[in-house]
């Protein structure tokens, strides 16, 4: 493409600058919306941030690990239900567990986040231990099957709303903040996204990241140097699930509503789409993808009820013309940094 389109090349910028540009959008748009008193835009951006966080998690196992998980909504839903169950007990003043010891519900975000991360991690450990024994299409199908199992379980779990889900009347608390104020809740989510991006960026360059990266490209090599392929991938899957689980807790808090749809395969698919739009395996791929997706969903949705068709065409064009999403289209060939 470079050879035929000099103007395009002139417009290309380094991946680092694309990342900074993306981050500045996540600061400037909400700042503008705040000043212009457009709370809906802030909510839209919060949605983008939370989806980005979920996909950052997925990108770890999909982009770096090389396993296409079509069941990450399982963790998203788990995070959501952890929030829902804890908050539901707290607002109803009924203990979560009475025997052998009393566990009360809670409306505290830090506690909910921690529990979401832990529960998702435990489930990821179990799901990963089974499904990472396979690869390719089988892996896709097994992860999908796990997520669907949890979807149908949540539908039949009448204690927590069953098919109708659960409404949480007031958003949960974070010490020192008024989380009902859209811009404050947005900032909270954005900071969590930044922390996870920082963590993943370090992880990719760490010894673990090097090994995981090599395991995708040449499993035989990794075994021949005495590294445990399965353990590396399982750990990546657990971290991946935990991050997506945290995103699920935030998403439930954004909507103050949890339902079985959070386990739905459509969501799993959307997470994959974010990554493909932005750039598979790129640090900011899922972030750019989620922002574009939420933006397109909003603007195309205003134009037509059949906005999915246009989204599909755009997705098709991106996949056809770039090997690694939007970032691949506009990023200069990376110069190796050391």
């Amino acid at each position: 493409m470079e050879a035929y389109w000099p103007l395009w090349v002139a417009l290309m910028i380094g991946e680092r600058n694309i990342n900074l540009l993306t981050l500045s959008l996540f600061v400037l748009i909400p700042a503008w919306a705040y000043l212009a008193d457009e709370p809906f835009t802030i909510t839209l951006m919060t949605r983008a941030v939370i989806f980005a966080l979920a996909a950052v998690g997925l990108n770890l196992i999909l982009g770096i690990g090389g396993f296409v998980s079509f069941g990450h909504a399982a963790f998203f839903g788990l995070g959501g239900y952890v929030m829902g169950i804890l908050a539901w007990h707290a607002q109803g003043y009924s203990p979560l567990l009475e025997w052998p010891f009393v566990i009360e519900g809670t409306k505290s975000m830090p506690v909910i986040w921690l529990v979401s991360i832990m529960v998702s991690a435990i489930f990821a450990l179990i799901i990963g231990a089974v499904s990472l024994k396979t690869s390719g299409v089988y892996f896709i199908m097994i992860t999908l099957a796990f997520a669907q199992m949890m979807y149908y379980f949540s539908i039949s779990w009448s204690a927590y709303g069953g098919e109708d889900g659960m409404s949480i009347y007031v958003r949960n608390n974070f010490p020192g903040l008024n989380t009902l104020d859209p811009i404050q809740f947005y900032s909270l989510c954005f900071v969590l996204l930044l922390i996870s991006l920082w963590f993943v960026s370090r992880l990719i360059k760490s010894p673990f990241g090097l090994a995981l990266n090599a395991a995708r490209q040449s499993p035989q090599r990794v075994q021949a140097v005495g590294l445990d392929l399965h353990k590396l991938q399982l750990f990546a899957f657990v971290v991946s699930g935990a991050i997506t689980g945290l995103a699920g807790a935030l998403f439930a808090d954004l909507n103050r509503f949890v339902s079985p749809n959070m386990f739905g395969w459509q969501l799993s698919g959307e997470f994959i789409v974010f990554i493909i739009i932005g750039g598979v395996g790129r640090l900011f791929g899922p972030v750019i993808g989620a922002l574009l997706f939420v933006g397109l969903e909003h603007f195309l949705g205003e134009l037509s009820d059949f906005w999915h068709i246009y989204l599909g065409i755009i997705l098709l064009l991106i996949v056809l013309f770039s090997k690694s999403g939007v970032i691949g289209l506009i990023a200069k060939k990376e110069v190796h940094s050391d």
Partner: protein, 249 residues
């Protein structure tokens, strides 16, 4: 018998009716280069796979320093001291040359369970990797991607990774292929000295290299060892001449 670093005892492997490895017993002793030669399809690669653990023999056993490793995984064999190079380069093509070698040092001496510190900043791993690259003569492009290297350079990279493992024995599957005259000479010099660090089981098509390096040559044909002798012995062996080197010699 006991002083062999690596020994295969009567290993047999068949795929359906095809016997790829038929009652093969070979030994590699300290400070020795043991070359395996044979026509295509003679079972050389199957033998290597069974030694390195990517395939299990139907019968017989593989011993490393007297210890039975027949049922160990490829990963555990690598940790026990088998350092292999692959016939078809197995490299992380999107990673740099340096990163590829560091994967080797990571497996043996490093700890992959570190998540924050950049691997390139871990000096002992990096120095080890750079030293290995220097030894194979691949120093000019540390930071280019492995995927853009020439075929010969990929072979050198394979050897460099094996060096970082500091193995008890090297298993090298056609390390010379595609190296060119100059590259082959350099690598031969390296292997010639390397045998004093750890013996080498060498599968190679380059006969000049085999004849000048090997202490022992075993000839495989249809999965069987038809001869195992010194270079002079093999050159004179009538069975080998008929099966492999050509009738007219």
């Amino acid at each position: 018998m006991t002083d062999a670093v690596l020994a295969t005892q009567n290993i047999t492997k068949s795929f359906g009716s095809l016997i790829a490895c038929d009652d093969v017993s070979i030994e590699v002793k300290p400070e020795e280069i043991h070359a395996i030669i044979g026509p295509n399809g003679a079972g050389k690669s199957t033998l290597i796979s069974q030694i390195c653990g990517t395939q299990k023999p139907d019968n017989g056993c593989v011993k490393l320093l007297g210890q039975d490793i027949t049922f160990k995984s490829a990963k555990d064999r690598a940790l026990s001291g088998i350092g292999r190079t692959f016939q078809i380069s197995q490299l992380a093509m999107e990673d740099t040359v340096l990163q590829n070698v560091m994967i080797g040092s990571l497996g043996k001496t490093g700890n992959p369970w570190k998540f924050i510190k950049p691997v390139l900043k871990i000096n002992e791993l990096r120095e080890e990797a750079e030293f290995a690259l220097e030894r194979v003569g691949l120093t000019n492009d540390l930071h280019s991607k492995a995927g853009i290297l020439s075929h010969g350079q990929k072979r050198q990279l394979e050897v460099a990774i094996a060096l970082t493992l500091k193995p008890k024995i090297f298993i090298m599957d056609e390390p010379m292929a595609g190296l060119g005259i100059e590259g082959s000479k350099e690598l031969m010099l390296l292997l010639d000295n390397l045998r004093y660090e750890a013996p080498i089981l060498l599968v190679e098509h380059d006969m000049d290299a085999v004849f000048s390096l090997a202490n022992i040559i075993s000839v495989l044909d249809y999965g069987r060892v038809i001869a195992s002798d010194s270079v002079e012995g093999i050159k004179k062996n009538p069975i080998v001449q008929r099966a492999y080197l050509g009738e007219e010699t």
